[in-house]
């Protein structure tokens, strides 16, 4: 069953077609990497998946529901690319705030926060204001807030940015753990090696169009290919767009 569905989605800003007839599905329990150069339309697509903006045409569905409806977003855990959090809040206050927005009880918030603070490696920093956090620490609290309400679907925008090698490994393991628990994950990234390591599927976006999508096994092909090669080939293929690998 497809948890994330985009069907012929078009989004235009003035004369610019940010997303052009984009279609792809993500099945339950799969990790999908959403790749593309800057300006390819990844962020616009993510904004539509979160219901921030509506497509001009086509359908965007999360668990067959419209993400623009608030209650649908209870199933979504979102982590923004840059840590857009309130700097005057302490780490546990931020989690308490987001937990409250998700309708969690005080007890649920306390239990999940404690577990996630440990899981993302922020033990001892929970009582510090976020303005004193490093970029990596902010990414970690971002991960914690996305996982806080135990959603079905994770939409992660450049989740590996700013993480040190150890944190990357921890985060990668965390995503694989969530996958095992049946969670569906879509993340955008420039980190092709990370995508190759953990993704079941990848979608490569260029000028708002999906120019390639398939499993990571298909990327590997006969063993002579890797995601980086495919990615570069797809981005370079202006004349013969969509050419077979």
């Amino acid at each position: 069953m497809s948890v994330i569905q985009l069907e012929n989605v078009v989004k235009t800003f003035g004369a610019v077609k940010a997303v052009n007839e984009l279609s792809f599905h993500v099945k339950r329990g799969e990790i999908t990497g959403f790749l593309g150069a800057n300006g390819a339309g990844k962020t616009t697509t993510m904004k539509m998946l979160l219901g921030f903006i509506k497509p001009d045409s086509g359908r965007v569905l999360i668990n067959e529901k419209d993400p623009a409806v608030a209650v649908t977003r209870k199933q979504i855990g979102y982590m923004p690319e840059i840590a857009y959090y309130y700097p005057y809040l302490k780490a546990y206050e931020l989690l308490r705030f987001y937990g409250g927005l998700c309708g969690m009880t005080k007890k649920e918030i306390a239990v999940r926060s404690k577990m996630l603070i440990t899981k993302v490696g922020l033990t001892g920093a929970e009582n510090r204001e976020l303005k004193t956090f490093s970029k990596g620490m902010l990414q970690r609290i971002g991960i914690a807030q996305a996982l806080l309400h135990n959603p079905d679907v994770y939409i992660l925008d450049e989740p590996f940015t700013g993480l040190d090698p150890l944190a990357r490994i921890q985060f990668r393991d965390l995503l694989l753990e969530e996958k095992k628990a049946g969670k569906t994950i879509l993340f955008s990234s420039h980190e092709l090696s990370e995508a190759e390591l953990i993704c079941d599927n990848v979608v490569i976006l260029k000028e708002g169009k999906a120019v390639w999508s398939g499993t990571t096994a298909e990327v590997a092909g006969d063993g002579t290919q890797n995601l980086e090669r495919v990615f570069l080939k797809m981005l370079a293929a202006d004349a013969n767009e969509g050419e077979a690998i």
Partner: protein, 260 residues
Amino acid sequence: MSIVICQINALIKVSLLELYRRKDIAVVLILGAVLLLPLSFVSPFGLSGAGTYFNEIALVMVWLFSIFIALGVSSRVFPYEFEKRTIYPLLAKPVGRGVVIAGRYLGALTAAVSALCLFYAAYVLLCGFKQGIWFSEALLQAFILHIGLLAVVVAIGMMGSLIMTTSANVTISILVVFAMLLFGASLSALAATQNLVAKTVLNIANAIAPHIEFFDMRQRLVHEWPAVSWLVCAAVMGYAAVYSTVCLFIADFFLKRRRF
């Protein structure tokens, strides 16, 4: 329904934390207290009647500071969310934009009212020490109506912040609030003496502008006049509720239309 209350509660709490961890609000509060409290001990030239003037000065300061705090707080909430992009993770949660408006509004109003409580505490000290009046019905009414005033001012500031830039919003809001405070009561009388076009414009302004003067009990407090009817108070608070609600609906309309 319970999830909406939970969400509004979370938004109010975070608004309060935000406002009290920002030092500029503390500066206004300290400044207000520093200006108000000494008035309670001063007796210039040994004139006993001078207390009335100090009372008036103290009330003007309470009004000015409370309006500045209310506008300062409410006009920055959404521009800050947009500028720092905290609006993204906020709206990614299962919270409707209308709930965000309501929560942020109540948070800003709670903060402004808590500052007002401090100002009124200082004012009561002033009246107590100067005139031996620690409580009066008119004082209670003035305080309640002042909360109504802040409800309207915060709603105007919040609505404006979603329509125009922060500086334009603050300037226009201050002009409207003080213009209505000074001339609101005479607008309809002024309209009656004008030609048709001016009369129409003034009548429209009279209908849509916030009647800040409704909330003004200062003269009653200064001259120790009796309290007004509680029915009048209730009607004015009803006006505040309706006016604020209309402003918040307009704010909601603009937030829903906003492209992120």
